[in-house]
Structure formats: C-alpha cells, structure tokens
Symmetry: C3
Subunit: 230 residues, 3 copies
C-alpha cells in the first residue's frame, strides 16, 4: 500500500506488503524490506536499506505513570543516504540518522535523537530519547543508551552496556541526567554507569565495572565499585 | 483479515493488514497497528493502543530439553481498557494486563502473568510466566523478570535488571523460586538477583549490585556480593 | 505470496500473508506463522514451527565502520526436523539449526553459526556469527553470545549473560577471540566473560561474576573480578 501523496525515487525496490504512509519521501536506489511500515512524513535518502518487519516514524507513547510526557509536535524521522537498518526495528519520529549509519536487527531508537555519520547501533540495542551520538561510534549488541546521554565521536561501547539517568529511581523531582562519554572513550561489555557520570577523553571502563564516580582523561577503571588503575 | 466470529466495537481503527482471529473481542475507540496478529479468543478493551507488528494471544512453545512444559489449557489473553502496547511485541495467552498498563516496543510477556493498574513494562523488557506484578510498578527498558516472581505495588526496577529462579542451573529437581520484591522496593540498573531473594519494603538495591542474601526493610545494599550500608 | 520455484510439503499450515521466496523448501507437517518472511533458498524440515513476524535466511549487512565485512557467498539457512522458532525472530543465511532446537521470541542468530540437537536459545537472546553451540545447551533469555564462541554440549548459560571477543575494543588489529565454554560448564545470570576466556568442563561461574582469567575444571568462581572458591 503506497499512499498517493508519497514520493518514491528511481530504482527503489519495495518488498512485499510494504506500507508507505502519506507524505513519505524515498530516494533513489533504496531497498525497503517486506512488511515494513513507514509512517507519515518520514524522509528516506538514496541507497538506504531497510530490513523486513521494521517500522519507521512511530509517534511516542505514554501512560499515567510516566514521569515525562513525550512532546506531541515532532519533526519527521530523517534517514540520510547510505543508511542501513535491520529487521524488526522500531525507530521514532523526531530523530535523525546521518549518512552511513548502521542499525542492527531488533534495535529501537526513540524520538529527539541524533546519530552522526558512520556510527553503528548494534542488534537488539536500545537508544532512548534526547540523546546525541557522534561520528564513528560503535554501540554494540544489546547495549542500553538511556535518555539524555551525550556520546562523542569515536566512542566504543561494548555489548550489554547499561546506563541510567534517574538517581532517585522514580522517587524525586530530580532532573534526569544521562552519562556523558567524551571523545574516544571505551566501555567494556556489561559495564554499568550511574546517572550523570562523565567518562573523559580516551578513558577506559573495564568489562563489568560499576562506575559510581567520573573517570579522568586517559585513565582506566575496573571493579565494583570501579577504581582507577595507576 | 477479520474472522467472521470476531466482535469489533465502535470507532475502532484497524491498521493495514491486521489479522483478527476467531472469537476476538475489541472494545470501542481502540487502535490496532498495521501487520498486527491477534490470536483466537483474545479480549481487548476500549481505548487500547496496539503498535505495529505485534502479536497477541500466542500459545506457549516447548522442546525436549525444557524442564517445565507449558500448560495446554490457558484462558484467553485479556487486555483492559486504556492499555498501551508498543510495536513488535509478543504477548501470550493466559495473561491479564489491567487498566492503564504500558508495554514498550519489542517487549515480551509470557503466559499466566498478571500486571496491575498503570504499571510500565519497558521497551525490550522480558516478563516470564507465572509472575505477579502490582500497581504503579516501573520495569525499565531491557529488564528481565524471571518466572515465578512476585513484584508488589510501587516497585521500581531499573534498566537491564537481571533475575533468576534456578539455583542449580538446570542440574537438579529443585523447585524454581523467583525473587520477591516487596512494596516500594527500588532496584538500580543492571543489578543481579539470585533465585528466591526477598527484597523487603522500601529497600534499595544499588546499580550493578549482585544480591546473594535477602535485603531488610528500608535498607540499601551495594557491591558484589552486595553488602548493607549502615 | 509463494514463489513458483518454492517446494511446499504435505499438511503444511501457512499463516496469513506468509512470504515464501524462490527455491525455499518446506517439509511435511510444518507450521508457518502469519507475516513470516522466508528468503531465497532456505531449507526447512518436517514438523517445524515458525512463529509470526519472523524472517529467515536474511543476508548479513555492513557499513564503513565495521571491522569485518560479512562474506557474500553463504550457503542457505538450514532448519532441521522438529525445530521450534518463536515470533519476531531474525535468523541469517549460512546457519544450521539441528533437530529439536528451540529458539525463543525476539531472538536473533547470525551467519555461519551451528546449533546442535535439542539446544535452547532463549527469548530475546542474540547469537553472533561464527559460533558453534553443542547439544542440549541452554542459552537463557536475553543472553548474549558473541562471535567466534565455542559452546560444548550440556552447557547452561543463565539469563542476561554477556560475552565479548575484542580485547582492544575496536582499537587494534587484534584477532577477535570469543570465549570457550567446555562441556557441562554452568554460567550464572548476568555474568560477564572477557575475550578469549576458557571455562573448563563442569566449572561454575556465579551470577554477576566478572571473569578475567580462565576457570579450571569443576571449579567455581564468583565476584568482580571473579576468584575461585576452594
């Protein structure tokens, strides 16, 4: 089903039963998988690949218990040239994926997020809202990027990484604060970052470390709680 | 495809290619996404939202190696008024979601589970069978709720939480025992709970803690193994 | 949509809108869910169950930043008799699932992987490429099996397990080395294994342990970093 107001470029390969909503734009030489759903207004560049059973441009949801209601007015989802997206992904309206980004199967990315050139979001990884991810960043499989995080260029995040942004765990009026990972920081698999932690340039967080204090530039921390190696 | 024995209320919005099975009931003003599959007998209330590519009312599966075979006779999946369910979710037959529950994208919930009013099951979270979750509970993104858990009202579970229920890791005839989280308990991100652990009322488990002993009322534990702060 | 070159056995139950690609083979008494996508050349045995919204036989993806490009020539995905696969799964071309394997909902399995008889890959678990998994292995829910791992027969891997294979976290020309789990090893929930770690026969890794050194036969390790119990 292609809505009559959608615009489809040249040499686009459309999978079986792809559902293309109103005002969607799809650039040349792009491949859309089967059973894909592209919501209203989504902008997709040229030479993009979208896997099967993925939905793009979804509106945020909410219930009574949620601390922060999503904004109702969001710009369209924008997917630049050469982006590759896996199967069974969910990507929200209000987000920008820059050129060459790769998103693995079963990943999800919420609203108001921006991911710069050639970065990788691994399979089954989850990226929350209001997050900035730089260039050539690797977010490995099953990693969890909480809301309000800032991840600079060339950061490496290992598989099963866990972050959080709410020091009072739903109790307080605390302003949520995601961790900040500075340029070139490297985080081992299954490491845990507490809310607001800053990992400075080229610092290393060991696998399984639980980071309760900021990590200084170029230093390495390991353990629970994480302590600095000399 | 709507089966002729299904009952669809007023002002229901059905997505493209939604598959509505026999004896399904859908209440007024409910929205069903595209490519959604609703299996036989599922009961959905009014003002419900179901995201794209979700399947509801699935029968449990098994193979030779599985310790516990699922029961073959299960009541239908019941989804109350005002429930919101994300995209690419899988929810089994034999489960009840009460009014106002929110289930994030890519989450899955097994059979014989009950989730009370206004609770949140985060994106990519997994809830196993035979679990009771109280009111106003938050289960954050990517958290894992093992089988046979009891989670009381107002509990907060951080992202990437891990629980288990099999002390002998598949070796013994041990009766599986899920952890119990009492009213108001708060669990930090990526914390690990061993089988049968009880976290008492308003106790706090720090991020990344590995909890090997019960946690007393109102107390805080941190570290690996977790020890009580005074 | 069934491609004219596909071969469908007797008593096959095809869900609504299943998409069966060219040269696919499906054995007798097999059940295919709704909105399933089966890519070119996939071979499926008899008495197989495939859940809704799953895609089978997908080609690997890549972008500029990826260290290792996937091989372009892969044999078809092969699914043996009596295999059960959940809903919303993604399984790649170039992989073999042997008789009686169970794959849970929302799991994904990459190329060049082989899983032997009656093993279980839990819900939301992720198995990377070039991995060998033996017989009667349990990989529980949400566990992460990195690339190049070897998992022998009768291994038990608890929920939320994390592994990695890149000691230099994307910095070096290091040859990636996945952990090796020898016959009968048991790994607790949310344990972390560093690259190349060997867990010997019948050894036990406690829940939440961070394993930085090899584990000797029949021994138990716990803590962060993991130390051996006497």
């Amino acid at each position: 089903m292609i809505h009559q107001s959608a615009w489809i470029g040249k040499n686009v390969s459309l999978g079986e039963n792809a559902i293309i909503g109103p005002e969607v734009i799809i650039g040349d030489n792009t491949t859309i998988g089967s059973n894909v759903i592209i919501h209203k207004g989504t902008i997709i560049g040229s030479n993009v690949f979208i896997g099967d059973l993925t939905s793009l441009g979804k509106q945020p949801m909410a219930n009574k218990k949620m601390a922060r209601k999503p904004s109702s007015e969001l710009p369209p989802l924008s997917i630049s040239d050469g982006v590759t997206i896996g199967g069974n992904c969910v990507i929200y309206r209000g987000t920008i994926l820059h050129q060459g980004v790769l998103v693995g199967d079963l990943a999800s990315i919420r609203e108001n997020t921006e991911i710069a050139e050639n970065s990788i979001i691994g399979r089954n990884a989850t990226v929350e809202n209001n997050t900035r991810i730089g260039k050539q960043v690797t977010v490995q499989t099953n990693a969890y990027i909480t809301a309000d995080m800032v991840i600079e260029d060339d950061v490496f995040i290992g598989p099963c990484f866990s972050s959080s942004n709410d020091k009072y765990m739903g109790m307080g009026n605390y302003r949520h604060q995601g961790p900040v990972l500075k340029k070139g920081a490297k985080i081992g698999n299954n490491a845990t970052l507490l809310p607001g932690i800053i990992v400075a340039e080229n610092a290393i967080v060991g696998a399984g470390a639980v980071v309760t204090k900021n990590v200084a530039q170029g230093k390495t921390v390991v353990g629970n709680p994480a302590r600095q190696l000399d």
